[in-house]
Amino acid sequence: MRDTTTSAATVDGAAQAPSVLRLAGIHKHFGGLHALDDVSLELRKAEVTALVGDNGAGKSTLMKVIAGVHPPDEGEIWLDGEQVSFNDPRGSRAHGVEVVYQDLALVESQEIFMNMFLGRELRNRFGLLDKRRMKAQTQQILSELDIRIHSAATTVRNLSGGQRQGIAIGRATHWARQLVLMDEPTAALGVQETAKVERTIVRLRERGLSVLIVSHNLDQVFRVADRVYVLRRGRIVGERSIAQTTGDEVVAMITGSQTVAGAA
């Protein structure tokens, strides 16, 4: 395996898209647990990268480190060529990174439009919430993403699981300027809804955004991703271009049943 810490772009030359996010030597401990152990990876512009691994491999922790929810104990985060360090999600958002959390992070007792604008609510010239403008814009975002909800003023509590997922993904895709992190975005969805989410991911790539998706579904990884990283017990044990790997190989890396040449 290639050493990903020394910017792959320089190795592969002009054929590679520029780097959007680069992690170098990330460590994260929770008490005695070494949740992330020397993790390095690179996400490129307009690429979909999948992060796979068994339960407890550290996938969600890695997402939270990038999002700024858990600052790393050690290591560097580079976003768009700039070294950054976030203490909370506000930092990563300011750099155009949006997250679809596994639990969606929606405020159930508030309306869809308030969730869409959560933390960045629009104000009118009196400094009060501009609910009309937020509602109109939300309605537009929903129809662009083909999320069928008759009113943006519906309270999230009254929505189905699929609709909620749609809101969370719609929010992230609307605000992201660089990178969207998705933690198991289709785990709770049916076939049709899953297809819709996958179309959204493809559209994000067309818009020039990068996507990092955590998924347990290898078929999905091979459908949407350009590149895959495999985590095992907090360590990156492999990185492959989707075009140059097989499901069997990825499974072998996940379970550790095969020693991967050059793995850390």
């Binding site: 929810v69 909370d88 639990d103 992070a105 405020v107 959560l118």
Partner: protein
């Protein structure tokens, strides 16, 4: 509300829709919305309740002066300090917290204002009372967020401390208030027939209602109370919001204390002693969730008015203080149970 009952109501609605004249449809829709939405039911129940209680008293007590202007103004004046504190409590409960120290802070604020007022004048007197309330609230909020101690424990301790301080300041003596400017603004002063305290309460309620429902801060308070995690990942500074609600609560308690001192032209350690329970009851009756996330400032103010009306009516019925307290406790228990049934799953 059970699903079966909801379905039944929906069919009823369809029927009403077919039969109702076109102009009545918005009303029907509103009614339907209230029926199917639990939160809306508990939020709106306080308004008809006040009308019914008021109507019953108006009929039953018509010969005992219930409807006299003096009595109605009296009810409003009695409700006013409770309503002011209830506005603060709506913010605290909506953020998923509770502030048990408000009643005790009332006494300390009143005593601070009264004692500073005599020697150092109006502004410093007010500043002293306000500083006590705002300072206590801020300290509670800071302890809750920094030390991660549940707010009911922190504010319970604050209540004990404030109660002790109130007794200590003047060794249980009351401090009389003679500053005429103070009494005009915070005491016997009137606008038309309305006493100043009612005007203060109306102003606090209006500002509170707008901030709660129509500002980013209000939305953030409710978001934090609904889900701290969601609020934080939405970039909301959760700690700052939590500290802010306690500070607001302390400020409203201070204002209530200052107004009490103005009304009785004195401050003493017993002021506000029984207010905590009444305030929380007014807020819950007014449709604010005990579990955070949603509420209503106007509902809480009407809740305060409802409790003051009940209290007044029971006195006119001739109940003595002990009986009134029992009756009030039972009524609040019933109201809270109903409120929780509507709010809970």
């Amino acid at each position: 509300m059970s699903r079966r009952r909801m379905r039944k109501l929906s069919t009823q609605l369809e029927q009403v829709k077919r039969e109702a004249p076109a102009g009545a449809l918005p009303l029907v829709a509103l009614w339907h919305k209230a029926r199917v939405n639990r939160a809306a039911v508990s939020r709106l129940a306080v308004y008809p309740s006040l009308v019914v209680i008021f109507g019953v008293f108006a009929l039953a007590l018509r010969n005992r002066g219930f409807l006299s202007t003096l009595n109605l103004l009296n009810i409003a004046s009695q409700a006013a300090p409770i309503a002011i504190m209830a506005v603060g409590a709506v913010f605290v409960l909506s953020a998923g917290e509770i502030d048990l120290s408000i009643g005790a802070v009332v006494a300390v604020s009143a005593l601070s204002t009264a004692s500073v007022l005599q020697d150092h004048g109006l502004l410093l007197g007010l500043a002293a009372g306000a500083a006590v309330g705002i300072g206590t609230g801020f300290l509670s909020g800071a302890l809750v967020t920094r030390l991660r101690v549940p707010s009911f424990l922190v504010t319970l301790a604050m209540m004990e401390i404030a109660t002790g301080v109130a007794r200590r300041i003047h060794d249980l003596q009351s401090v009389s208030v003679t500053n005429t400017a103070f009494l005009r603004w915070f005491g016997s002063g009137q606008i038309g027939q309305l006493s100043g305290v009612v005007v203060w309460a109306a102003a606090v309620a209006a500002i509170g209602a707008v901030v709660y429902r129509h500002t980013r801060f209000g939305a953030h308070v409710r978001a934090v109370g609904d889900s701290r995690r969601a609020a934080a990942s939405g970039g909301i500074n959760v700690a700052r919001v939590r500290i802010a609600v306690f500070t607001i609560s302390g400020a409203t308690a201070a204002l209530a204390g200052i107004l009490y001192a103005g009304r009785i032209q004195a401050a003493q350690y017993t002021l506000g002693t029984n207010d905590l329970f009444t305030v929380i009851a007014a807020v819950i009756i007014g449709g604010t969730s005990l579990f955070g996330g949603s509420g209503s400032v106007l509902g809480a103010v009407v809740g305060a008015l409802l409790l003051a009306t009940l209290n007044n009516g029971l006195i006119l019925f001739g109940l003595n203080v002990a009986e009134q307290t029992i009756a009030l406790g039972l009524i609040i228990l019933a109201a809270v149970i109903i409120g929780l049934r509507e709010q809970g799953e």
